[in-house]
Symmetry: C2
């Protein structure tokens, strides 16, 4: 058996796992320390009542022969595809239901979509970026090129000059880890670039529900021409606390072709071989999130995370620490003070603030010297964390 | 963008989709015909009360902050891994919980496990076989070799002579589509072959719960040495009607290495990048299936399918049609009478019996001239189908 070299070459551990391990070690050595995590981007829940009611009903249906659902369509049930289509249209990006494919989370399809590309192809990623994407490329045997973000571009890298014609480009806006959001003009430049180079543009919109400013694009399909080059990934994870319930979706427009081959047909074929759809019960829950009650309830939960993010943002401003994100995203990205490295600041915050964050370098080399804070937490805890953060900084001065 | 040639080369449609389309066309032209499907291997449900009760409880937990579950472990919750470990041990194949990885169905991991193998490698499949596996290999860029089954080996192909050293071998027992079951001696020969050639043996045990005869192996780990070469895939789909609820598992033993590299570590890495686990609610349902109530209730449902299979089996015997499977499997595999082709017999049964089955040729060239019947149905319908089957045959004589 010859092993997949790309998989063998991957880093042993995710940054999140490493951070958790260091925090555990610290906690074991300091039993009095009550750590607060502003680390991994998990929600606090709970699922909204509209979702749990719909799921409870669906569980009852599954318990009766007459209303039982066996294998569902791989692409997802029409009721959910239609609900997502209406939601995207409401937000200003009309997408027909037939272009929407239900997934068990954006992470699954992010990797799965690379199956469309021939091994040995070129991928273009931003640096820093969500580390799973880099790993997905290595598993698929793609060569990884990066374009680095920096304070000068607000951590919103633009298409690189040069002759590279990437087979696939990955963008995330609002971005993980920086929380930065591309403007329409910036996304239009990326769409132009993708079309000129005949690249497949994977647009990760998992954090789009956090955008409060109408002038910022929440979908790539607000950009003319995107339907000819871009796939968009959406998620119920952050929108509605579905991190442990698992539902997302992929928009793959019918107009998206590669030398005359419609990618939608290839994706259907890929999914038919590799996937059997998402649990009926889960799809009922997701559809309820997009109903009138669900939307109202979800909006309330999002408002809490937005307020948390604003609090962290004003804390960083107060501390005079350069930072990005947090306005339209659940993440804040900060420059480590006093020239500390990412892991140096991680250890410092752990020791002096009993706080766990995520070292920026875990998202790519351009993240060295930076640090991510997550705003998923209950307000009291985040407020306490903000106090501790400021207090800890006193030890640096 | 350069497309994945393997994906492009795949057949346009699954045999099941083609069969469904022909049936729809017939039904449209014959509005009086009340078709019965003995085609696709979907269960009739419902989920057992133990499962729906556990799922309803889990939905309530997800609706309260204190009992909410966000991201779970990618490998699955310990409560389910432990329950599966106990079940496998009870059945005579002791597997520790740490070797068990929860999936959203065997289909997902069947394809995913090929990520362990370098593209360009060699796969060895039986012919006929479950068509998704062939497609998985093409998507992954593996070269597909087959070993054909025939009446002379009871459609249980044995390792081929010759110098082929496959990177990966796929076996399914009880087999889809033939329902044939390997003996211990036969599986031992496959394990020997895999170890000699350093092949990864993927053993699909999705239909193992149908085995009634204690002398037949229900797990590859009943064979000494299998833990050094074999991965086993299990499923709650047929066992407990989870086709629309999505839960399965993969056993990847700690002892399984390739030139010193433990595959378990690689698989963890692959899953961490590509997967975020199975819904908490679904895992609770699956665990309840393996509890005392769940097992009793599930056994009752399986007994119905077993009785259906026996009825179909005796029908074929009565008709004097050579057939395989059906004793320890939900599938019957029959030789098309009068030398009809697979699709010829499909059309004949549709027209003269208003019955929908699955043409054997859809599972590979060695399936030409054969036909699959599925025993998933309610007993009255299957009884009616059996009558119609015999009646239709009169038109052939």
């Amino acid at each position: 058996m010859k092993l997949n070299g790309g998989l063998v070459s991957m880093e042993e551990e995710y940054v999140f796992a490493q951070a958790a391990q260091r925090a555990r070690r610290f906690a074991a050595a300091h039993p009095d320390a009550r750590l607060i995590s502003l680390g991994i981007g998990d929600v606090q829940g709970p699922l909204c009542p509209a979702a749990t009611r719909a799921m409870a009903r669906a569980v009852r249906e599954q318990g009766r022969r007459r209303s039982f659902h066996g294998y569902g369509p791989e692409q997802g049930y029409q009721f959910l595809r239609q609900a997502i289509s209406s939601e995207l249209t409401r937000r200003g990006a009309p997408v027909p239901a037939r272009d929407i494919f239900i997934s068990d989370g954006a992470k699954s399809d992010l990797g799965g979509l690379l199956d469309l590309i021939a091994p040995g192809g070129q991928a273009l990623l931003c640096d820093p970026t969500y580390p799973a994407v880099r790993d997905d490329c290595l598993i698929r045997g793609l060569r990884v090129n990066t374009v680095a973000g920096s304070p000068s571009d607000g951590f919103l890298p633009m298409p690189p000059p040069g002759s590279l014609a990437p087979d696939v480009i990955y963008l995330c806006s609002p971005a993980n880890p920086t929380g930065a959001v591309y403007t329409r003009a910036q996304l239009a430049a990326w769409v132009d670039y993708a079309r000129q180079r005949e690249s497949l543009l994977l647009f990760d919109a998992a954090y789009a529900p956090f955008i409060g400013d109408e002038s910022l694009p929440r979908s790539i399909y607000e950009i003319p021409g995107a339907e000819e080059c871009a796939v968009e990934l959406g998620s119920f994870s952050k929108l509605a606390g579905f991190t442990g319930t698992r539902c997302g979706y992929t928009v793959l427009p019918a107009a998206l072709c590669c030398r005359g081959v419609p990618l939608q047909a290839l994706w259907r074929r890929r999914q038919a071989a590799r996937f059997n759809g998402v649990a009926y019960v889960v799809q009922r829950g997701a559809a309820a999130v997009l109903g009138p009650n669900g939307r109202r309830q979800t909006e309330r939960a999002l408002a809490v995370y937005r307020a948390n993010a604003r609090l962290l943002e004003s804390t960083l401003t107060e501390a005079g620490i350069p930072h990005w994100g947090g306005l339209h995203a659940p993440y804040l990205w900060l420059a480590c003070p006093q020239g500390l490295s990412s892991w140096g600041f991680f250890d410092f915050l752990l020791e002096y603030g009993w706080l766990v964050g995520t070292p920026g370098v875990g998202f790519g080399p351009a993240g060295e010297g930076y640090f991510r804070l997550s705003a998923f937490g209950d307000p009291d805890t985040v407020e306490l964390a903000a106090e501790r953060f400021l207090h800890a900084l006193d030890y640096l001065r």
